[in-house]
Amino acid sequence: MDDAVLEKVIRRHLKNLPEDQELAPEASLKELGLDSMKAVELLFDLEDELGIALPDNAMTRETFATPASLKQVLLDAAAVS
């Protein structure tokens, strides 16, 4: 998985993250502006850009907690599909 693409996609949905600020792997996505409605948009965006579909049971708060947690779930999903 291309980390740069992943970060680019995630950043689009973080309205509280200035462009020049780093996105740390353990940063709270919620604090950076990702609410549950936005998570759906992010999900679709990830599917389009990375071609990875997440199962419905991965649509949890834990999945969308941090860039690292999200990346792990995406890797798991990619391994399955």
Binding site: F44, E47, D48
Partner: protein, 392 residues
């Protein structure tokens, strides 16, 4: 109701053997308006024909929740097969609750083994579908009961192995003195009645007319003579409404699933604008209808499980209301889903998503034991409950 002896895993294992057959057969059955023989054969094999037969007789001892979950799963593949099965289960409940010991002994193990599919004969020329009246009288002769019955609509009438038949108790009895009688196909001469079966939907139920003549042992009378109302109110009607609701909700649920699958797929997202407020509002409505139908169904199951007076006014209002509401709203859900996916996916025959067939199938739901009649009853009952007693 019997305590459940079936686990969810057991049911899902049995369904795994049945659902692919229904999926494969549904379209052909609909096109030909033919009875789903292979699907029913798979149900016989699976043990699910005996879902409500107590384990002591070799059945699965399932409860109402098991009934609903199986009905819903079947309906998601073929509404006709699901309704055939649901009505069979309704007959089984009457036999379990009110069959004589001799009848239960000789019949329930055969039902559990999948040998006997039981059809319901309640319609009659002249009186239509009214459940609590009958014209054709029973005649008794030395411990034997003779019957001769002409029924305009019998689901699966040409394929059933047994029949539960409503009859006027005797030639001198009033039309509302109704007796329920079980007859094996072997005890009857079954001839096709006048008329054919070429309906808009539910085409696989093959609910054509039949004429039945024959004689059975007196032990085949189910419940007290003339007291079909008691049999009906205590199980036959509640279980029927619950099972029908389970089928209709299951059909609408499967339809919403398939639409979500479509619009969420990578190809679908190019075609459907998921940011559309209209689309989201429509999805929300469809989901809300399913949640309210399921909630009412859950309350009716609680009402039945609590074993209170089935003629309690609020309980009756909910039971009738469940049939009316799920008939209306399941069709409304399909209608809305067709609006969402449009002509190509929603209106054409032979697509992967059978919305067109479900629409035709569910159009019959309000007519099948007519909503109009139940609303008349509920209007009267509403007047009797000035306090407007609600349960939640």
């Amino acid at each position: 109701m019997t305590a459940t002896m079936t686990t969810a895993a057991d049911l899902s294992g049995r369904l795994d053997t049945v659902l692919p057959v229904l999926r494969e057969q549904a379209d052909a059955v609909d096109t030909a308006a033919a009875f789903p023989e292979r699907s029913v054969a798979a149900l016989r094999e699976s043990g699910l024909m005996g879902l409500l037969v107590p384990t002591g007789y070799g059945g699965l001892g399932g409860d109402l929740r098991a009934l609903v979950s199986v009905a819903g799963a079947l309906a998601g593949e073929c509404m006709s097969t699901a309704m055939i099965w649901a009505m069979h289960c309704q007959q089984v409940v009457a036999l379990v609750q009110h069959g004589s010991p001799q009848l239960r002994e000789r019949l329930l193990p055969r039902i559990a083994a999948g040998e006997v599919y039981v059809a319901s004969v309640t319609s009659e020329r002249g009186k239509g579908g009214h459940l609590f009246t009958a014209e054709a009288p029973l005649r008794r002769r030395g411990g034997r009961v003779l019957l001769e019955r002409d029924a305009p609509i019998v689901t699966g009438g040409h394929h059933a192995d047994g029949f539960l038949i409503t009859m006027r108790d005797s030639e001198s009895a009033g039309y509302n003195s109704v007796t329920l009688v079980y007859a094996d196909r072997a005890e009857l001469t079954v001839t096709p009645g006048d008329g054919s079966w070429n309906p808009m939907g539910m085409r696989g139920t093959h609910s054509g007319p039949v004429k039945l003549t024959g004689e059975v042992d007196e032990s085949s009378i189910v419940g007290e003579p003339g007291a079909f109302r008691t049999v009906a109110v205590s199980g036959f009607v509640p279980v029927g409404h619950v099972a029908w609701a389970g089928c209709w909700i299951g059909g609408a649920q499967a339809a919403l699933r398939s639409v979500l699958e479509l619009v969420r797929s990578p190809a679908g997202r190019k075609q459907f604008d998921l940011d559309s407020e209209l689309l989201r509002a429509r999805l929300a409505r469809a989901r809300l209808d399913l949640d309210t139908m399921a909630a009412l169904l859950a309350q009716v199951i609680r009402d039945i499980d609590q074993g209170g007076d089935p003629e309690d006014v609020p309980v009756q209002l909910r039971l009738n209301g469940l049939k009316v509401h799920t008939a209306e709203r399941s069709l409304a859900v399909i209608d809305l889903l067709i609006e969402i996916v449009g002509l190509r996916f929603g209106y054409m025959r032979g697509t992967a998503m059978p919305l067109e067939r479900l629409f035709r199938d569910l159009r019959s739901a309000s007519l099948n034991y007519a909503n109009d009649r139940l609303l008349q009853a509920n209007g009267t009952l509403a007047l009797l409950d000035r306090a407007v007693t609600l349960t939640y």
